[in-house]
Amino acid sequence: MKILIIAAVSVLVFITGCTNLLLKPADFGWPVESVLKVDNNGMVIEKRYSFSFNTRELFLTETSDSSGFRGKDLRLIRNNNGYYFITANNFKNVYVFYPDNGSLVLSNKIAITDSTGMTDPAFNQRTPYIELIYNTNRKLYLNNDGIFEENSR
């Protein structure tokens, strides 16, 4: 037991040593969402923030169609914690990603509707939340953990 306590303290000290530099507060939030056209290769390019990624896997996961990305618009916004919220017309989910080593890693998949997909979804920045508007009058407040609260008119 004693050895176990010593080992745990050592690990704790080691981890603390590795994360000694922290810049805070930091706000990664975008003031407004970006609506990006998916190109023939499944890529989207965000010019203002200078980044791009491939959406093939995202559309495959959402629609089970490998060519489901063709001609689609992707809606994308980043919250103040740095998570990307991504969805598109007819999606049932909002996907939450974080950037890691040249890729976007799925952090959360927030289910919004059950049977049919959303119509005209849109994100608004409502720090500390992301407002999701869909089906004309449906509104949800999201964070990277999921739905914080729902409002409907």
Binding site: Q125, E131, I133
Partner: protein, 418 residues
């Protein structure tokens, strides 16, 4: 504590809900604002008149007022602009365009006035040109007409100069330098230039100015300074046309009208250039013909040199005996025309303008020198005279010496006898 967090969260959400009860999309707000800005910007650019432009003032004010509540969102989203700078840019565009119209209006008035003056001067030039032609003929027989001819030529020269200045001024007014130097013109600007160029007969006036300047050179005999002045004028016209013509041809080409006329201006300048060169030779020809000297035809330095050398060689061949007329021919040709007129007045101009080389000039003068040597052969009589005198003196000296010797020998013989 947990309940307090939930209550705070609900207050926050309700406050959002209150502000955006109609579920507005921020993206749409930003896009609508951007579209409206672009729409007003385009509208300002395409506007045809100052009156139409006024309506955009109201639109800009309305855009600013209706989006004031979204200022914070727009400030963050309109990177690199913001809400205020976007509105300010529109107001600046409006002011710049207003100035354009004010300037265009002033230019239009000026062009109208210029057009009238040009038309009057064109008529006057035609009259003067005809008068000069008639007087040139009459002055050959009637010396009194020469003064009148000179006056008419001066009047014509002044009138042409004024008309030419007006034509250049009108071109400048039609297309200000800013337009000429700009890479592209909008369709609206092209249409404006096209209709004004048509209305003011720009191409016709330019062509007319070139033709009349060529005609002026044909009906008058000019001195190098006059030709230099015409050459300077031609360069000024050409410079103006080079900066204006290609844009005008492009505009005419797009409308399929008067392209040929506009393109002919380039060849008209070539004709003018050639006429200027020929004017020098023509004036030189007249200088010779005024003294009844007929040279073979020439229109360049090489031909002129050949004609001059041929003339002097012919003269040398035809001199059989030294006569007064041969001397007179030489004196008129060499002293009066060449050394008295052509060489001091025309040769520097010809050499400066690469119409004659120094080598060609030296060849001509060498021919004249040969002719001189024939007309005035070198006189060797003084050598004979001096030689004869010397020989006579020597003979006299020798005779006297012999006589002296004879006398001495006779005297000595007489002494012996005694």
């Amino acid at each position: 504590m947990k309940n307090l967090k939930i209550i705070l969260g609900m207050i926050l959400i309700f406050s959002f809900y209150g502000s955006y009860a109609t579920a507005q999309q921020d993206f749409k707000i930003v896009q609508d604002f951007k579209s409206k800005v672009q729409e007003i910007k385009d509208g300002i650019k395409k506007t045809d008149s100052l009156a139409e432009l006024i309506q955009f003032e109201g639109q800009i004010n309305q855009l600013a007022a209706s989006n004031a509540s979204n200022k914070s969102l727009l400030d963050k989203s309109l990177y690199p602009d913001d809400f205020n700078s976007s509105i300010e840019n529109l107001r600046n565009d409006l002011e710049v365009r207003k100035k354009d119209f004010t300037q265009i209006s002033a230019l239009e008035t000026r062009v109208s006035v210029l057009s009238m003056h040009i038309s009057d001067l064109n008529d006057r030039n035609v009259e003067l040109m005809s008068l000069v032609k008639n007087l040139t003929e009459q002055s050959k027989n009637d010396k009194d007409k020469i003064v009148l001819l000179q006056r008419s030529i001066t009047a014509l020269r002044t009138s042409l100069r004024r008309r030419d200045e007006l034509v250049i001024s009108m071109i400048d007014s039609l297309m200000p330098a800013d337009f000429r130097n700009s890479g592209t013109l909008s369709n609206q600007e092209k249409q404006n230039i096209y209709s004004k160029a048509q209305k003011r007969n720009i191409v016709e006036n330019l062509q007319n100015a070139i033709d009349e300047n060529i005609m002026f050179m044909k009906v008058t005999t000019l001195k190098p300074d006059d030709i230099k002045a015409i050459k300077d004028k031609k360069q000024q016209f050409e410079k103006t046309w080079r900066s204006f013509g290609p844009k005008l041809i492009e505009i005419y080409s797009e409308r399929g009208k008067k392209v040929k006329n506009a393109k002919e201006i380039d060849s008209a300048f070539e004709k003018w250039n050639s006429a200027i060169d020929q004017e020098a030779w023509s004036s030189i020809r007249k200088e010779f013909s005024d003294f009844d000297i007929r040279l073979n035809d020439y229109s360049n330095g090489m031909e002129f040199t050949r004609a001059m050398i041929n003339y002097t060689q012919d003269k040398i061949k035809n001199i059989k005996t030294k006569s007064d007329s041969a001397v007179k021919d030489y004196l008129v040709f060499a002293d009066t025309v060449w050394f008295g007129n052509i060489k001091p007045i025309w040769v520097p101009y010809l050499i400066d303008n690469n119409l004659l080389t120094s080598v060609q000039k030296d060849k001509i003068e060498s021919g004249i020198l040969k002719w001189k040597n024939v007309v005035y052969p070198v006189d060797y009589s003084w050598i004979y005279i001096v030689g004869s005198l010397l020989i006579s003196i020597i003979i006299i000296v020798l005779i006297r010496r012999n006589y002296k010797k004879k006398n001495e020998s006779l005297n000595s013989n007489d002494g012996v006898k005694e």
